[in-house]
């Protein structure tokens, strides 16, 4: 047991130290993990052979990643970007694969090996690129969107690749492995003895089970679990789902990644999507991190030193080919100015899926260990060079185009971010309706799954999830949101949530619902930009109706109401200051109370004041004094 702890500790401490440093240096977390692996593996020799075993376990992170990719792919939005996806992504993948395969063939590699190499290098690093885009705020640029389409297409293309690679197996390699007798992953195969037609049936049945089951059975299950209100059980359910699918796929001899991806797509429309993401995301992150560490730890230093020139040469050649293909595609799709270069430079590296395919090729005896060792180094090296490419973009490309674009009149409307509404009860619903009616995107979160259910029935994008959890806010897209509306039915959680958002995402404007004056001040102190007591305006309306019922003229009632609001607004700041000054935390100290009484009398005064009196909010439309007309004509200049 202690041995495991020690091992886990070594991996964790390497990650904890290396990843933040790498990120600070602008290298991104993937490189951080790789470096951590290199340090504990080849450099310090703290870990050894067990890395391969751990790597098989860590590959489950890839399954989770594909599940999450699937979750992101709402069929509708996928359809909307079909041209870009297939055009840009398909062209990039096809051209790059063919060119690199050609290169490998020229270096006298057999066809199957060349094809696998082409496929491996055609992929770019989703993890590095998307993270860098996010850090530099490039997602919304034309180049950023195009790069995203290409990455998405690649992520999807991985699945058929995983199916294709076993077909490329080299018979001798496979035979050697059989003789060695180390059959590690076929112990639980239900279908090994079945005839082909039955096997086909079993596969169709299990895919159908994932699709239909995902669609019809998951919702009652999630609802049942959500109703219990236990967070960890929801997490357990999410894990159970992904692991269960992976197991099922393994049993029938299909790729677990494919199954997980399918399940993700099926659940993409579900109201539980964001909550699922929030729950799986940390596991995926850690497992993928572990996977990269094992890749780093597995790097063979001897191979590197013996083939340094070859590796550097291949890396540069691969990056040149990839950049060239991307540049041509950017021209074909008429990307303008800096966007063209962003696409070209950002995707010129090989990516983490390259590692996955490499380790998969190794298991399936497609490539020899020697080639795999060299290719791994090429993939890693190209990823190491990516931050350098972004530096070129920042320092050389952007300044060159900035001058040009500044000359044009800037009259375009910025793509405004979405609005996140936490709590879709009687309060949040009205806000949501107003925003939707004005074509603003909203993401609605609520912890009551029945509430979400009825909102979805009327066509709102509502998701089950606890908006007070940072993970949940993250998956709801708070980084790109421009507004947060807190309308939840819990005093303390409201305050906690406002505090957290204000602290973590200072650029977001926060509107919060308060229960009463005291709660409102606490929410305001927590950092909300706009606070309104839930009963204030409705009570004011009711008061106005009361006045009208008693026979007051409706327009005078309006003016009374506006005078009330004006004084309340003006005094509110003073009252708040008094409340906030009170360091002891007792809300109703003397000063505050005195001010509160003063507010009452001010309102009383203002509303009682004679309409004709000067310096009152109630003045206006005041007729001139009687007999003023005679005076006017007296003063008329005689011209």
């Amino acid at each position: 047991m202690t041995g495991y702890f020690l091992q886990a500790f070594i991996y964790l401490i390497a990650a904890v130290i290396a990843v933040p440093i790498a990120k600070r240096l602008g290298l991104g977390s993937v490189l951080g993990y790789l470096i951590a692996g290199v340090i504990i593996g080849p450099v310090l020799g703290l870990v050894g052979d067990e890395t391969t075993t751990i790597q098989h376990f860590a590959e489950f992170g890839v399954v989770m990643m594909l599940f999450l990719v699937g979750l992101e792919l709402e069929p509708k939005s996928l359809w909307a970007m079909k041209t870009k996806l297939i055009g840009l992504g398909g062209l990039q993948l096809l051209l790059t694969t063919v060119l690199i395969m050609g290169g490998a063939l020229l270096m006298a590699q057999p066809f199957t090996i060349s094809l696998s190499i082409g496929l491996i290098f055609a992929l770019s690093s989703t993890a590095i690129v998307l993270q860098t885009f996010q850090e530099k705020g490039l997602q919304q640029t034309e180049g950023g969107k195009s790069a995203f389409s290409v990455l998405l297409f690649q992520d999807i293309a991985v699945i058929p690749m995983l199916a294709l690679i076993p077909l490329l197996a080299i018979p001798e390699l496979a035979a050697n492995a059989q003789q060695g007798g180390t059959e590690h992953h076929d112990n639980y195969n239900l279908v090994s003895g079945l005839p082909a037609w039955l096997y086909g049936l079993v596969i169709i049945a299990s895919v159908a089970a994932v699709t239909v089951g995902g669609h019809y059975l998951s919702r009652p299950l999630f609802k049942f679990v959500a109703a219990s209100g236990l967070r960890e059980i929801f997490t357990a359910t999410a894990l159970m789902l992904v692991i269960g699918i992976a197991a099922l796929m393994g049993l029938v001899g299909l790729s677990p990644a494919l199954g997980a991806f399918l399940a993700g797509v099926v659940l993409a429309n579900s109201e539980f999507r964001h909550e699922l993401e929030a729950n799986i995301e940390p596991f995926k992150g850690l497992l993928l991190g572990l996977f990269f560490i094992t890749v780093g730890a597995g790097i063979n230093v001897d191979v590197l030193t013996n083939n340094a020139l070859l590796i550097i040469g291949i890396t540069l050649a691969v990056m040149m080919i990839k950049a060239m293909v991307l540049y041509v595609i950017a021209l074909v799709f008429a990307l303008r100015e800096s966007n063209k270069w962003l696409l070209t430079l950002s995707l010129a590296q090989a990516g983490e899926f390259g590692f996955v395919l490499l380790s998969f090729s190794s298991q399936n005896h497609v490539l020899t260990q020697n080639i795999i060792a060299i290719l791994s180094l090429v993939v890693a090296l190209s990823m190491f060079l990516t931050p350098g490419l972004f530096i070129i973009f920042d320092k050389i490309i952007l300044p060159a185009f900035e001058k040009q674009s500044n000359d044009e009149e800037s009259d375009t409307i910025n793509d405004s971010g979405s609005v996140i509404i936490a709590g879709i009860g009687r309060f949040g619903q009205i806000i949501n309706r107003l925003l939707l009616a004005n074509n603003f995107k909203t993401v609605v979160l609520d912890v009551r799954s029945a509430q979400i259910d009825s909102m979805r029935k009327i066509g709102t994008h509502a998701y089950f999830g606890d908006a007070s959890k940072p993970d949940m806010l993250h998956t709801a897209g708070i980084e790109d949101a421009s507004l947060m509306v807190v309308a939840i039915n819990d005093r303390e959680t409201t305050i906690e949530m406002v505090k957290y958002i204000k602290h973590t995402y200072p650029h977001i404007r926060i509107l919060a619902r308060a229960f009463d004056r005291g709660h409102g001040y606490r929410v305001r102190q927590a950092g909300a930009h706009f606070v309104v007591s839930e009963t204030y305006h409705s009570a004011l309306e009711m008061g106005a109706e009361a006045l009208r019922s008693m026979g007051l003229h409706p327009f005078q009632v309006e003016r009374q109401k506006s005078a009330y609001k004006h004084i309340e607004n003006k005094q509110d700041d003073t009252l708040y200051e008094a409340w906030a000054d009170d360091a002891s935390g007792e809300r109703f100290d003397n000063n505050y109370l005195a001010l509160f009484i003063q507010l009452e009398s001010l309102i009383q005064d203002a509303l009682n004041r004679d309409l004709h009196e000067h310096h009152s909010r109630m003045r206006g439309w005041t007729p001139p004094p009687k007999g003023y007309a005679d005076k006017l004509s007296e003063n008329e200049p005689k011209s």
């Binding site: 506006s562 004006h566 003045r619 206006g620 005041t622 007729p623 004094p625 003023y628 006017l632």
Partner: protein, 209 residues
């Protein structure tokens, strides 16, 4: 050239457009005014969307400026309703007229407006039977009673087709020129008080055309 040595005049542009999202002329003029020195621009519909005009604040603004400009699209031969509301509320007895009502005395007043109809329509024998200057007489008399010097108006006709006819830049140029001259105090006052339309007056167009 010695006119340049006159002290700079501060200008208050009260802009009233109830539907700016559909505006093609007023919004560009509004932005141009904001970019000009010595000009304060108030978007009345943005500041008082509920028509609760703050009388004290508006009176202070008037006191702080030498030239008052109404910028608006013509609605039924008059200002949009909020600008009328503004007059009703802010130009109080005892402030703008009547006993001691001399706060605006000596200031200059300009109406800058866009009209959908063509210039030919705004003639005695045209569709609208009156010239624009005649139709704006209530505003002219408001200026007279409050002791302000009435200039202009600055009118843009055929505003619904200005964009299609590529006239917007010309209108903007004249508008900026007007504001500039008002600020420098270099406007030919005699011409400006007597002309039918400042936009065609030699006092503005002289240096452009």
């Amino acid at each position: 050239m010695d006119s340049k040595q006159l002290p700079a005049q501060s200008i208050l542009v009260l802009y009233a457009h109830p539907s700016p999202s559909r505006s093609e002329i007023n919004v560009p003029l509004f932005r141009d005014a904001k970019a000009q020195r010595h000009v304060s621009v108030i978007d009345l519909y943005a500041e008082y969307p509920d028509f609760n005009i703050d009388i004290d604040k508006e009176q202070q603004r008037l006191l702080a400026h030498d030239v008052i400009v109404f910028l608006f699209p013509l609605y039924w031969y008059s200002t949009p309703s909020l600008l009328k509301e503004w007059q009703d509320l802010v130009l109080e007895y005892g402030f703008a007229y009547g006993d001691n009502g001399t706060a605006l005395k000596g200031k200059r007043f300009v109406c800058a407006l866009s009209a959908g109809g063509r210039e030919e329509a705004y003639q005695t024998d045209g569709y609208n039977h009156f010239s624009l200057k005649q139709l704006l007489q209530p505003l002219e008399q408001m200026a007279n009673v409050t002791g302000m010097l009435y200039l202009g108006p600055f009118a843009i006709f055929g505003s619904r087709t200005a964009r299609e006819e590529h006239r917007i830049n010309l209108h903007r140029q004249k508008w900026r020129r007007l504001l500039q001259k008002l600020a420098d105090n270099t406007l030919n006052i005699v011409e400006a008080t007597h002309c039918e339309n400042l936009a065609d007056c030699p006092c503005i167009t002289g240096d452009i055309l």
